[in-house]
C-alpha cells in the first residue's frame, strides 16, 4: 500500500489496474471523462494490462462490457448523466444476465438545460435496473469501493452488476491522497473472475438469453431480487475481510456518525453526507443530540439498518440531491417505505436541494437539522417535502 495524490476519477482508473480488470469499454462525458482518459494513458503505457475498447457510444460501452463479461472477462466502464441514460437498455440487460460488471458513475445533472454539475437523478433513475448501487464521499472511498465492488458483484450468492457513484466535480475532480494497492496486494482479496453460472465457450456451446415464456420468466426475476438482497449479507463480510487485510473501512452500508444517542439524524447520499459531519459536530457542541447517517449502499436498500436507527431516533432529515418528479425525494420515499412496517416510525422530513451542483454548505445542513429538531419539539411534521434554498 502506498499513498497517491489524485483526483477521484484518476483514482478510479487506478482501481481498474489494482483489480486487474480485463476489459474496459468507455465513452467520454463530463465529468466522467478523465476516468477513460486516464485508463487510456495507463493502457498505452502498459500499466493497465487488459483491453480498452474506445467505443462510439455509452450504449455500446455497456454492451461491450456485456460481451466481455459473457466471455468470462472482468469488465468495467465509467460514465455520467446522459451517458448512463443512454445505457438504460444495457443496464437492465447486464443485471438480468447476471453479469458482474462494475460501473463508476459520476453523478451529473440530466438535460435540459445542459448542466455538468452534480444531481443524483441520473443514477437514482436507475435504481430499478437490478444494479447494486453505492454512493461514496471521498477519493479513498471511491478507489476502494470499486475494488470491493468487483468482489461483491462476482460473489456467487450475488452475481449482480455494481454501480459506484461519486458526485460530479465536488468529488470527481477533487485531488486528495488515497491508499493505493498494487494488483499483487489485491490478488488475495480478489481472485481472477471465473464465471460460476455461464460463459460463452465454443468447447461447451451453451447459449444465453433466448426466449423465456411466462411460465418461467418470473422465476428468473425472483432470483435477481434475491441476488441483490444477498449483498446485504455478503457486503459486510467483504468489508470485514477488507478491513482485516488493508485496514480500510468506510462505515458499512450506512456510515453513521454520532447516531447512537441522536434524536435527529440527517441522512444523505454522496459528499453531502460527509459535509454533514462538520454540521453535526458543531450542533453537538451547542448541545443538540444529532447525528448523520450517510447511505452508502442504496440498492439493495439497507432496510434493517434504517429500522434499527428508527428505533431510537425521533426524526430523520432526509436530504436528496435528486427528485422523483411528482413524488419527492428518492431517499425520503425509500426511508418512509422501509419504516411503514416498523414498530418505530419517527418523522421523516424530506429535503430536496443541491441540484445542478448548487453548493450545500455546513450552514445549509445545520439549518435543515435545526428545522427538524423544531419539528420534533412542536410535534408538527410540516410539509411533505421542502425544497431547500429555493429562489422565489
Amino acid at each position: 500500500m502506498k499513498t497517491m495524490l489524485m483526483s477521484a476519477n484518476y483514482a478510479a482508473a487506478r482501481a481498474v489496474v489494482s483489480a486487474r480488470v480485463e476489459v474496459v469499454a468507455a465513452y467520454p462525458i463530463t465529468p466522467a471523462t478523465t476516468v477513460p482518459e486516464q485508463i487510456a494513458l495507463l493502457d498505452e503505457e502498459g500499466i493497465y494490462k487488459g483491453e480498452f475498447i474506445r467505443v462510439e457510444s455509452e450504449h455500446s460501452a455497456m454492451f461491450a462490457c456485456i460481451g466481455a463479461s459473457s466471455a468470462g472477462a472482468r469488465a468495467f466502464t465509467a460514465t455520467s448523466s446522459n451517458g448512463l441514460l443512454l445505457m438504460d437498455e444495457a443496464l437492465h440487460w447486464a443485471a438480468a444476465a447476471r453479469l458482474p460488471i462494475v460501473l463508476a458513475n459520476i453523478n451529473r445533472s440530466v438535460s435540459p438545460s445542459w448542466n455538468i454539475h452534480v444531481t443524483h437523478d441520473d443514477s437514482m433513475s436507475k435504481r430499478d435496473t437490478g444494479w447494486i448501487q453505492f454512493y461514496v464521499a471521498s477519493v479513498d472511498e471511491f478507489y476502494h469501493t470499486i475494488i470491493q465492488a468487483f468482489r461483491l458483484a462476482e460473489d456467487e450468492r450475488v452475481l449482480m452488476p455494481v454501480m459506484v457513484s461519486a458526485d460530479g466535480f465536488v468529488l470527481s475532480h477533487t485531488v486528495s491522497p488515497f491508499d493505493y494497492l498494487e494488483p499483487e496486494e489485491v490478488d488475495e482479496f480478489l481472485p481472477p473472475y471465473k464465471p460460476p453460472h455461464w460463459v460463452m465457450d465454443p468447447d461447451n456451446p451453451i447459449s444465453h438469453g433466448n426466449i423465456v415464456f411466462p411460465e418461467y420468466y418470473q422465476e428468473f426475476r425472483y432470483q435477481m431480487h434475491e441476488g441483490s438482497k444477498n449483498s446485504l449479507k455478503v457486503y459486510p463480510e467483504i468489508e470485514a475481510e477488507y478491513k482485516k487485510l488493508f485496514g480500510k473501512y468506510f462505515g458499512g452500508m450506512i456510515a453513521q456518525h454520532r447516531c447512537d444517542d441522536a434524536e435527529v439524524v440527517f441522512t444523505a447520499q454522496g459528499t453531502v453526507g460527509a459535509e454533514a459531519i462538520d454540521a453535526v459536530d458543531e450542533l453537538r457542541e451547542q448541545g443538540y443530540k444529532v447525528g448523520v447517517a450517510r447511505i452508502r449502499m442504496y440498492r439493495p436498500f439497507p432496510v434493517e439498518e434504517i429500522r434499527k436507527l428508527a428505533s431510537h431516533v425521533k426524526a430523520f432529515a432526509s436530504f436528496d440531491r435528486g427528485v422523483s418528479y411528482g413524488f419527492g425525494g428518492h431517499a425520503a420515499n425509500d426511508i418512509r417505505a422501509a419504516l411503514y412496517h416498523s414498530p418505530h416510525r419517527p418523522f421523516v422530513k424530506s429535503y430536496i436541494g443541491g441540484l445542478g451542483g448548487r453548493d450545500v454548505t455546513v450552514e445549509d445542513i445545520k439549518e435543515i437539522i435545526l428545522a427538524t429538531v423544531r419539528a420534533v419539539e412542536t410535534g408538527e411534521l410540516g410539509p411533505e417535502e421542502t425544497w431547500h434554498d429555493l429562489l422565489e
Binding site: E51, H59, S60, A61, A71, M200
Partner: protein
C-alpha cells in the same frame, strides 16, 4: 467451389428448431456454421434468429450464442473479442448474425464503430429485406414498391446501398452471398475465416412469410434475384474486387432475365400486377438493376 461431398457432415443448426418451414435464414446459417466448424461465438441481436433458437432451456443451435439487444450486436461482439484476446483465444471467430433491421437501421452505429476500431470479427447481415420478427414492417433494406405492414401500398424509397457504407470502412474482407447458392456461401465463410480484421458478409435471404411466395420456392426466388441482376454476388479481399462466377455472366444486361420474373413470384409486389400491371413502376425497378451494377462497378473497379 466446394463440392457438396467435401462439406462437413456435422450439423450445428439442429433439426427440430423453431424456424418456419422453408426458412432460408436457417439454410444459410447451417452452411456458415459448417464453414466455421463450430469454433465460433455467435452474437445475435433481436431478429428472427433469436426465435429460431427455440425456447429456454433448449437451443436449436450447436454453437454458443450470445443473444443481445437489437442495436448492440457489433458492440457486444467487440466485447467478446476483447475477452477472447485477453484469454488468448485469437482463432475463435466472433460472428454477428444480424438481420437487415439490426444492420441497416438500428445497429448501424455500433457496426460502424466496431469496423472503424478494426475489430477482428465477422459481421453477417442476413437480409430478408424486412422486419420479419415483428411482422413484416419496412426496413432500410426493403426494396422500392414492396408491400409491408408499414408500407401497405408499397415502399416509396429504394433500399439503402449498405455495402457501400460498409466498404467505406475498408473491411479486411467483404462479400455478398445468397441463400440459394450455399456452396458459394460456404466458400466465402471459409475465406473469411482465414482473414483477421473486420469482415462483412451480406446474405440475400428470401423469406416465404414476409415476401409471400410459396414456401417451396425459396431457392427459385433467390436464384431469380441473381439471374435478373437484382442481387449481385461479389467479394472483396482488401482492395481486390471480384465478381463471383454466378453473377459474372449477368454483368451483360442482355443475359439477365427481366426483373418481372423475380417480382411476380412474390405477393409483396402484387400491386405491381393487380388489378392491372403497372408497367411504369416495373420499368423503374428494372432501371434500378442497372443503376446498382453501375454504382458497384464504378466504386470497386
Amino acid at each position: 467451389m466446394v463440392a457438396i461431398r467435401e462439406m462437413p457432415m456435422k450439423e450445428y443448426v439442429l433439426k427440430g428448431n423453431a424456424a418456419c418451414a422453408g426458412c432460408m435464414d436457417t439454410l444459410s446459417l447451417r452452411h456458415a456454421l459448417k464453414a466455421l466448424e463450430g469454433d465460433v461465438i455467435q452474437v445475435v441481436p433481436a431478429c428472427c434468429t433469436s426465435v429460431i433458437q427455440s425456447l429456454w432451456p433448449k437451443s436449436g443451435l450447436g454453437v454458443p450464442v450470445l443473444n443481445t439487444a437489437f442495436m448492440a450486436a457489433a458492440a457486444t461482439a467487440s466485447g467478446v473479442r476483447a475477452a477472447l484476446k485477453v484469454k488468448g483465444r485469437d482463432d475463435t471467430q466472433v460472428m454477428v448474425w444480424a438481420g437487415d433491421g439490426g444492420t441497416f437501421d438500428i445497429g448501424i452505429q455500433a457496426l460502424s464503430g466496431a469496423f472503424e476500431r478494426r475489430t477482428d470479427f465477422l459481421y453477417v447481415c442476413y437480409n430478408n429485406q424486412v422486419y420479419s420478427n415483428t411482422g413484416t414492417q419496412r426496413s432500410g433494406a426493403t426494396p422500392l414498391y414492396a408491400q409491408t405492414t408499414t408500407t401497405w401500398y408499397g415502399k416509396t424509397e429504394p433500399e439503402k446501398m449498405l455495402d457501400l457504407v460498409v466498404a467505406a470502412h475498408e473491411p479486411a474482407y467483404q462479400a455478398t452471398a445468397n441463400a440459394a447458392y450455399p456452396r458459394d456461401l460456404y466458400d466465402k465463410f471459409r475465406r473469411a475465416r482465414e482473414i483477421h480484421g473486420p469482415k462483412f458478409i451480406h446474405i440475400f435471404i428470401p423469406c416465404p412469410q414476409a415476401w409471400n411466395y410459396p414456401v417451396e420456392k425459396g431457392v427459385e426466388v433467390g436464384k431469380l434475384a441473381v439471374e435478373t441482376g437484382y442481387w449481385i454476388l461479389w467479394e472483396r479481399i482488401g482492395d481486390e474486387f471480384r465478381l463471383s462466377p454466378q453473377s459474372k455472366r449477368y454483368q451483360d444486361p442482355s443475359k439477365r432475365k427481366p426483373i418481372e420474373e423475380f417480382l411476380k413470384l412474390q405477393g409483396r409486389f402484387s400491386r405491381l400486377f393487380k388489378p392491372k400491371k403497372d408497367e411504369k413502376k416495373i420499368a423503374e425497378l428494372q432501371a434500378y438493376v442497372q443503376h446498382r451494377w453501375d454504382i458497384l462497378l464504378r466504386t470497386f473497379t
